[in-house]
């Protein structure tokens, strides 16, 4: 072999052990996490990675062995994805999400939030006034096929606002159905539909505003305005806020798609998507809390004033959490 000994073959023989070592370490990290490595292996890892990257550059210049170059490319890619990948632990990420990322993201879309709120409450107000002027207007927006119609007596309607004896199964039932069948899907759809330049999001918001307005109008027309607001807002503050934020995130995505600004469209979308993603994750948390309030709080608390107090506290809580955080500005 002496005469025909290839330089590229020697190059490989001299370095192959290092590459294999790096490959082994990366394999173990993927299977059982970084913590599985011993301290000296952790120290060796970045060195081995840089050796491999420099081998790749050299190999491209001296070797025509395609298998070798492909191997080094994939090895370096894996190393790269690990070395420069996310290395924040779950709990660090978790706490930074609640301390910074979520409120920051919410604060970054104040305009879109106001727009969503305006659409939802605007349509609610219009439909409420329509229902108050003529109860026939209730029917196009009647979303639930139950006893809550203009024909029902005040007593029937009042009874729907208060619960006497609920067992745990009943509460769980309300909790689950509210959380998982309707609201979360509405919120997620508001978010996802924002992709289509925000138009479907606006329609969905308006539609939900209409339903809201129709029922509030119905109860107000029967002299139960104060009661329905308490019934609605004990969890509604959190829930409607969540839907509004989800829609705002959708609008931000839609707006970026239409007007990407100075960046390339895909880059601008990716940035907006990350902010929107933060808001979206938070929305799921809010809806979970709202469903708890709705399933348990509203069934257990049948006193109007307490309901109002809880609504007020949650509104103040959310607003100050999101918007009054001067110390959070790093």
């Amino acid at each position: 072999m002496s005469e025909l000994d290839l330089k590229s073959y020697r190059f490989r023989a001299e370095r192959e052990d290092d590459w294999r070592a790096l490959e082994g370490l990366l394999e173990r990290i993927q299977n059982s996490g970084v913590n599985a490595l011993k301290p000296d292996e952790l120290v060796a890892l970045p060195q081995l990675y840089r050796t491999a990257v420099s081998s790749l550059s050299t190999a491209r210049a001296v070797s025509l062995d395609r298998n070798l170059i492909t191997y080094l490319e994939t090895l370096c890619t894996r190393g790269y994805l690990f070395m420069y990948g996310p290395r924040v632990s779950f709990w660090e990420r978790f706490s930074s999400f609640f301390r910074r990322d979520w409120p920051d993201a919410v604060r970054s879309m104040v305009g879109a939030t106001i727009l969503s709120a305006a659409i939802m409450f605007g349509f609610a107000l219009i439909v409420m006034l329509l229902v108050l002027s003529d109860s026939e207007w209730f029917y196009p927006f009647a979303a639930f096929l139950d006893e809550r119609t203009p024909e029902a007596s005040q007593e029937t309607l009042r009874a729907t606002l208060y619960t006497e004896d609920e067992d745990i199964a009943g509460m769980l039932s309300v909790f689950a159905s509210q959380l998982f069948t309707h609201n979360t899907m509405v919120a997620l759809l508001c978010f996802a539909l924002g992709f289509m330049v925000g138009i479907p999001t606006a329609i969905l918001l308006a539609y939900n505003g209409c339903i809201l307005g129709a029922y509030v109008g119905l109860y107000v027309s029967k002299g139960l305005g104060f009661e329905i607001i308490g019934w609605l807002m004990i969890h509604g503050v959190t829930e409607l806020f969540a839907i509004i934020l989800a829609a705002a995130a959708g609008f931000v995505i839609g707006k970026t798609l239409a007007f990407p600004g100075e960046k390339r469209r895909v880059d601008a979308m990716a940035d907006a998507g990350k902010r929107a993603g933060n808001v979206g994750m938070g929305v799921v948390v809010m809806l979970f809390l709202a469903a708890l309030l709705e399933g348990f709080g509203r069934q257990l608390i049948n006193d109007d004033l307490t309901r109002y107090m809880m609504a007020g506290v949650s509104l103040l809580g959310w607003l100050s959490y999101f918007y009054l955080r001067p110390e959070a500005k790093r």
Binding site: V53, L64, T74, L75, A192, K274, G277, M281
Partner: protein, 307 residues
């Protein structure tokens, strides 16, 4: 003209076609080296999705059975109601978090993606964050679950007329088929989250082809400089592929083609394998030496006169 001819001249099955070339993306690491990522194609992603859907379905059925038979009757007041709630809860968690939780993990892949050897990375090789994962999977609601529900509930039933149904189908089709229609195979979620789905790089270092040939062969095959100047780097790498994974027939075909081209007088009983290995080795040495002097020969049509 020359390239078209080159395509034709390559042995079947060893060509890197234009489609494959379009699927690679280059990323420069902070160390200054260029690495390449191979995007997953639509078929692989559909495969991964089907596997995940199957896993979810099986989990749902098993979970449903456990809920149905796991708790004795009479433990709750109205068991059927509680059971149904638990089932809904379970379905929701699976639907909303299956993809997100798996993709936030170390492998950045769901079981389906793992089986298809795929993973999620941030575009241009940037850092992949949890909210990007969340955003790309919320969009799935629109791309997968909504069309599926629509089809399952009979195209909107009686409430939609034919025209509306068609419009809804077109609308949903935009999302479902989006990965097929763009260069980076992005679905809506990837676009929003700034992610790529790539083939998970799996390094496999095979033996150097030259390490297997015996020394004795080197003396039996001595090629002239002129013969070694016939081919370029492209042909060398095709030959490498043939030596690594070609069948006996392919090797015989390639060997006879090379012999004809370089006018090699075959010795009686000369075997194709050793001939190809020796030729590969000497050709590689010639080309690598040229390469060190910055004088590369791309392929057999590269005469070094014009570029």
């Amino acid at each position: 003209m020359a390239t078209a001819k080159a395509e034709k001249a390559r042995p079947q099955g060893y060509q890197t076609n234009a489609h494959d070339a379009r699927m690679w993306r280059e990323v420069t690491t902070p160390e200054g080296a260029v690495i390449r990522l191979r995007l997953a194609d639509a078929g692989e992603r559909a495969g991964a999705l089907f596997i995940d859907a199957g896993i979810m379905l099986v989990t749902l059925i098993v979970g449903g059975l456990i809920i149905a038979f796991g708790v004795p009757d009479g433990y709750f007041g109205d068991w059927s109601e509680v059971g149904q709630i638990l089932f809904n809860l379970f379905f929701f968690i699976l639907r909303a978090f299956y993809f997100t939780i798996f993709e936030m993990g170390r492998r950045a892949a769901t079981p389906g993606k793992r089986i298809m050897k795929l993973r999620v990375v941030a575009r241009e090789g940037r850092q992949l964050t949890a909210n990007a994962i969340f955003a790309r999977n919320v969009m799935r609601e629109l791309e997968v679950f909504l069309p599926f529900t629509f089809l399952l509930t009979g195209m909107g039933g009686d409430t939609l007329n034919g025209m509306m149904t068609l419009l809804v189908l077109v609308w949903l089709g935009v999302f479902v088929f989006m990965p097929v229609f763009n260069r980076d195979k992005l679905r809506g979620g990837d676009l929003v989250a700034g992610t790529w789905v790539i083939r998970n790089p799996k390094p496999e270092l095979a033996k150097d082809v030259t390490s297997t040939s015996a020394n004795a062969d080197d003396e039996a095959f001595v090629f002239t400089q002129e013969q070694l100047q016939t081919y370029g780097e492209h042909e060398l790498q095709v030959l490498e592929d043939v030596l690594r994974s070609g069948t006996g027939e392919v090797k015989a075909a390639v060997a006879s083609r090379i012999r004809a081209r370089i006018r090699w007088e075959a010795a009686p009983l000369e075997r194709d394998g050793p001939f190809l290995e020796a030729f590969y080795k000497q050709l590689r040495k010639t080309l690598e030496t040229r390469m060190l002097f910055g004088n590369r020969k791309k392929d057999k049509y590269d005469t070094g006169e014009s570029s």
